[in-house]
Structures are given as C-alpha cells and as structure tokens.
C-alpha cells in the first residue's frame, strides 16, 4: 500500500435514531458504488448489512455490520450499528473504528432519545460529520424543519448541499448545489443521469449556493475578503474550505435523498471522499495516544505503516461453526496474518489466524492490513472487545471505552436440566459479543442472574441463546438478597451432651452477641479466661457460630453485622 493508498481510505459510522434508515442508506451506497449488483431492502430482508435471523424478523439491526465500497478511487469502510436505545453499546464501540460519521435523520423518525444519548459522546470525540436527510420520497419531508430540529436538539447548524428535485412520490433526484446540476437515478440501475439545472430551479439553487459560499468565506479572513471583492469563491476554494470546515467540525453539510429509491447518493459519496478525513488526516488532529502497559508512561503512534503495529478491537463475533472473529481498527503499522501480537489490555501474547476483509456476512481473506484499515481477525483466544493489540516489541495500550452498566436484571432458570450447561456456556459467549450484558450466580440467593440494558436487550439475548446454543430458559424476577442483623446485645448458653458407648461427648459454652455498625460483617473473639474451655476447642466454637450465621431466625437469611464472643463454658 502506497502513501496514496492511505490517503484514499475513509472509515465512517452511521448514526441515527432507531429506524431512520442507516441500513437502507448503506445498501444504497453499496449499490450506487457498484459493490452489490442489486438494491436490497429491509422489507424483503435482502440488505447486505442485516443478515442475522434476529435482524430479519425484527426488520431492524441488532448488531454492528461492516461494509465496504469504492468511490472515486477511494475505499470507504462503512460501519452500520443498530440504532435501538438498548443497543447503544454497539454504537459506542463502533466509534472506536472510525474517523467520521454520517448522521441520518428520517423524515418520520425524527431525533429521539437514543440519538441524543449517543450524541454527547460523539461530540466529545469531535468526529467530523455529514448529515443525511432520508425518506425524501415521503410527502412530509421538509428541509427547513430538519435544519431547525438539528439546531434545537443537537446544537448543530446544518448547511444544505443538495435539494430535492421533484417531491414526495414524484421525487426524481436531487439538485447538487456544489456541481450545479440535477442528478437523477433509479432503483433498477446503479448509473445516474446528470443534467443542467432547469430554468425554474435556478433562483433557489443560486440562493442555496450563496449560503454555502458565505459559510466557507466566514471561516477564513482571506477568503472573506476575496468573497466580498469578487462576489464568489472558485470551485477549488469552495471544496478546500468545506473540507477544512467539516474536519474542524465547524461545518456540517446536509445532504438529502431517499435510500430505498436510490436517490441522493452521488453527492453524499462525493462528500465522503472530498470532505471527510482519511485516517492520517484524523490522526493529525487527534493524536493516537496511549500508555505503556508496564511503565504507565505516555506513548503515541503515528497513523503510518512505518510505525509499530497497534489497533483496537471494537467488536467480537462468536459463531458456533466458524469460531471467534475479532474486528480490529488498525491504528498504526501493519498487521500480518498468522503472526504473534501482544494484547496490552490483558498483558498476554496472542497468535492471530487469518485476516479478513468484511462485507456484511462475507469474509475475504487478506494477507495483511495497514494503518487505517479495518479487518476481522480469526482465532484470537483471550482478546475481548475494547482491547488494544500491538507489536510485542513496542507496547502501547489505548484508553478503554467505558460502557454503561446494565440496569435490568432477571433470574433465569434453564427449562430442563439438560440445558444447565448450555445456558451458562452460551451466555458467556453472548457476553463476549456484547459487553453490556452481564451474567452471574448470586452468592446469597444462588440464582443465575442475567442483566441487560432493557427488556428488548434481554429478549434478544435469550433468542440468540436459543438459536445459537439450543438452550431455553424461563425468566423470573430476581430474589432480593435480604439479610438479618440484631439490635441489642444478648447472651445465651449452648450445651450439648451425648453418651455413645464409653466416650461421652460434651460441650458447653456461653456466648455474647453484640451489634456491629452497618457493613462491618462478622467478628468472632474469645474472652475465655482460666481455661474454662480448652484453647484447642475454641476453633470448633467459632465454626459452630459461623455455620449458624447462614440461617437467621427471622426468615433464614444470612446474619451480618454482629460480634460474637465466647466468654465462658465448661
């Protein structure tokens, strides 16, 4: 891969409220760019991106897909996470893989809570952003409405770059403001037609183009002077200015179209190539900084192949047949297939198997992957989502992404005894794929507890458990781990006598039970003086107390926060 190779790569994630059309838009991009021969659809379950059974029958994504196409000699990696509120962990991890994003707003889906939640994280990362208004084929579409909504809910001021040509069901194409042409396209063919702007649209296009010129000129004193003097900027100045503005986050271009009608894709694909940063562009703004896992020293890498290899795993896929695949963003250097790498998050060496380029469910073997690339790695053993992998002779560990902890818990009970093993094995694998799930056995109640981000999340986990591992469970409300304690100090005698044959067994002790402050647990002491109980019997006394502690007198819950002293006996 040459210098040119790196420059001509874009890694982009799609973000939106659930159901705004990310997966459909990705499908249309792949179709328009010639990466797939047919335009698949959600309705027919034929998109490249949604292929898992859980996605097909829900008609919505449940896990992040990776896709790839090529446009104007540039490779575009597209990352399509699910938009559902309870699956936000997928989007948050996907952010580690990319240098930019496309924010999709659907005319009907609007901007909802799930998007607002992830938006603060996206803003904190300062990811350059393109906006796409989808569903222009619907009658209710309004560009002004979307601009106002983005301003109010997301705090961004989008700059329209394309306008609808025709409206509602009569939508034929878009007016490309930068190319000053009409671009029409159909769903049957990936080719598009380009025509001059018709007379009756000239005024609207002129005004909209003026706004683009102003937005670019405002960012730069020299350009502003020239704009004021000449009345306009050259095409080259415009494109350069837009690129700088987008990458600095001061300009958010707004494109529009219809994913299911294959309309508006050309200006969007052009913008990805022309305005969004390459991995190197991005690294020049946000340095690749981490810590040396042994010394804790700050270390950094450059996004070039000459630097030592480093990368972040942003997704793990466990297939009962194929085994484990780890999706990695290479940040620096080159990763070779069948080599040894170091997992600096876990402090262990790993042998990696084949490397794959991914297109939905298809995996194509590649010999290596250079800085900026995204690949799937086969056969890693201990590596989990979020881990840093690096050259074993040049260690670096990148900061870990903090995911929200689960909030909804259920006790689960295998439907049959034969399922017990499968349930625990299957759930552990599902958790590796989805770190926002948790599964444990509660020490007090002995229940198996499954926790997730919400009902949908739990349902989904159980569905996968059934399909992939053949195990079925029943859900219950989890038991509350109540405990018991005491309010006042009390004393009592315990006496045991048993005559068996010649040897008599005899034990007699006086105990004092006293409350301890909350959270102090249990303390045992011996205050026996003068050998009332022989010293070597004291441990037996303690054992007896500890055993009795497991079952309180109220309802049999464990007893805590008390001090027991043995002070007399015989």
């Amino acid at each position: 891969m040459s210098e040119l190779g790196r420059e001509s790569l874009r890694n982009v994630v799609l973000i939106s409220s659930a159901g705004a059309g990310k997966t459909s838009l990705v499908e249309a991009m792949l179709f328009a760019a010639g990466a797939v021969p047919h335009l698949g659809s959600i309705a027919q379950g034929t998109t490249v991106s949604d292929f898992e059974p859980e996605e097909l029958h829900r008609r919505s994504s449940v896990s992040t897909s990776l896709l790839r196409c090529s446009w104007n000699h540039t490779t575009i990696n597209l990352v399509d996470p699910p938009g559902a509120l309870h699956l936000l962990g997928e989007t948050v991890m996907a952010l580690r893989a990319v240098d930019a994003m496309i924010l999709v707003v659907g005319v009907s889906s609007r901007i909802r809570s799930e998007l607002i939640r992830v938006w603060s994280r996206v803003r904190a990362l300062g990811l350059p952003c393109l906006l796409f208004l989808n569903e222009l084929d619907k009658d209710s579409a309004s560009l002004d409405g979307v601009v106002a909504m983005c301003q109010r809910d997301l705090g961004i001021m989008p700059l329209p770059m394309s306008l609808p040509f025709g409206s509602g069901v009569q939508l034929e194409g878009v007016l490309d403001l930068l190319q000053q042409s009409v671009i029409t396209s159909r769903t049957e063919s990936p080719t598009f037609q380009q025509m001059p702007i018709p007379e009756n649209e000239r005024a609207v296009v002129g005004d909209a183009r003026k706004r683009i010129q102003e937005a670019v000129a405002e960012r730069d004193d020299r350009l502003l002077e020239q704009y004021l003097a000449a009345g306009e900027l050259t095409q080259e100045e415009l494109i350069n200015g837009l690129r700088l503005g987008v990458q600095a986050g001061t300009i958010v271009p707004l494109y529009s179209g219809s994913a299911i009608k294959n309309i508006g894709l050309v200006p969007l694909l052009n913008a990805i190539v022309d305005f969004l940063p390459s991995p190197m562009d991005r690294a020049s703004r946000v340095a690749l900084e981490g810590l040396h896992p042994d010394t804790g020293e700050a270390v950094s890498r450059r996004a070039v192949q000459e630097d030592p290899f480093s990368g972040i795993v942003f997704k793990t896929l466990i297939d009962p047949f194929v085994g484990r695949l780890s999706y990695l963003r290479v940040l620096s250097g080159v990763l070779h297939a069948d080599s040894t790498v170091f997992n600096s998050s876990r402090g262990s060496k790993e042998k990696n198997g084949h490397l794959y380029r991914v297109l939905g469910k298809k995996h194509m073997v590649v010999p290596l992957a250079g800085a900026g690339e995204i690949v799937a790695i086969g056969k890693l053993k201990d590596t989990q989502t979020g881990d840093t992998l690096c050259d074993e002779h040049a260690l670096i560990c990148y900061p870990k992404t903090v995911l929200a902890r689960p909030v909804l818990s259920f006790a689960i009970e295998p439907k049959s005894n034969a399922d017990i093993e499968k349930v625990s094995l299957g759930l552990h694998k599902l958790i590796e794929e989805d770190p926002t799930l948790e599964f444990s056995r509660h020490a007090d109640t002995k229940e198996m507890v499954l926790s997730g981000m919400g009902q949908l999340h739990i349902d989904l986990a159980l569905e996968k458990l059934r399909r992939k591992y053949g195990a079925e469970v029943i859900l219950h409300m989890p038991k509350i781990p109540y405990r018991e304690t005491i309010r006042i100090t009390a004393q009592a005698q315990g006496k045991y006598k048993k005559q068996t044959g010649g040897h008599g067994q005899y034990g007699d002790c006086w105990l004092e039970l006293a409350p301890l402050p909350r959270g102090e647990g249990f303390k045992f002491e011996s205050k026996v003086v003068g050998g009332a109980i022989p010293r070597n019997f004291i441990p037996a006394v303690e054992k007896g107390v500890v055993e009795a502690l497991h079952h309180g007198s109220l309802a049999g819950f464990p007893v805590v926060d008390c001090r027991v002293a043995v002070y007399d006996g015989s």
Partner: protein, 121 residues
C-alpha cells in the same frame, strides 16, 4: 464436634434474644432526565421509598442521585422509560444494607416462609 454443636445452639438462642431485624440492599441510583420530567421522576422515586440525595442541572437535563431499596427497582427501567418518554437513563450501584421498615418486614418474612414451605414440599 460437641463444642461446634453447642456453639450453634447457643448462637441461635442468643440471636432470638437480641432483637433480630431484617436488612435490605439499598442502591445508589443516578437518574438523568430532561428538566421537564424531573417532577414526576422525583415523585416516583419517593413513592419507591427512595431518598433523594442530590439534584444537579446539566445542560437541558437534570441529574438526580437517590438511595433506593433494590426491591423497588426491579422494573425501574420500564417505569423510567414511560415517565420520561424514553429520554431518561439511569445507572445504579450497590450502596449498603439498611433496616426494612417494620410492617414491610413482617410481610416479607411471611411471604418467604410460605415460599420455603412450598419449596420443601
């Protein structure tokens, strides 16, 4: 062996004399909700025997920190969703154990006895 049994017996006797009480786990709950829903969120937390510790404004949202018994939070995810039209989120963490109010404790003990009885048969 004899001392072990004697100690168990002695402990049980002493326990009954020492005013045993029931403890329940309390969770520290951090709720983030849009300012216009804050009233109903706080009202609901109070109804769940929660104690509001802290309320702080952050941009358009408010962050509420409260101490709430775990038993009252089993279906909170669903409740918060409907209280805030999907805009609220929360995180929780075990805080400590605390005494269950008397009348409630009587009920819990009763239910638990029935359950263990049923399980034994």
């Amino acid at each position: 062996m004899a001392f072990k049994i004697a100690a168990s017996m002695g402990f049980k006797k002493a326990l009954e004399a020492a005013h045993p009480v029931l403890l329940e786990p309390l969770m520290t709950v951090e709720v983030e909700a849009p300012a216009d829903h804050i009233g109903s969120v706080i009202g609901d937390l109070n109804a769940r025997r929660g104690r509001i510790l802290h309320v702080e404004a952050k941009d358009q949202t408010e962050q509420i920190t409260a101490l709430v018994p775990m038993a009252e939070l089993l279906t909170y995810a669903t409740t918060l969703n409907s209280l805030t039209a999907g805009r609220g989120s929360y995180a929780m963490e075990f805080a400590r154990y605390d005494e269950v109010p008397r009348e409630l404790a009587v009920r819990i003990i009763e239910v638990h006895k029935v359950e263990t009885h049923a399980a034994a048969h």
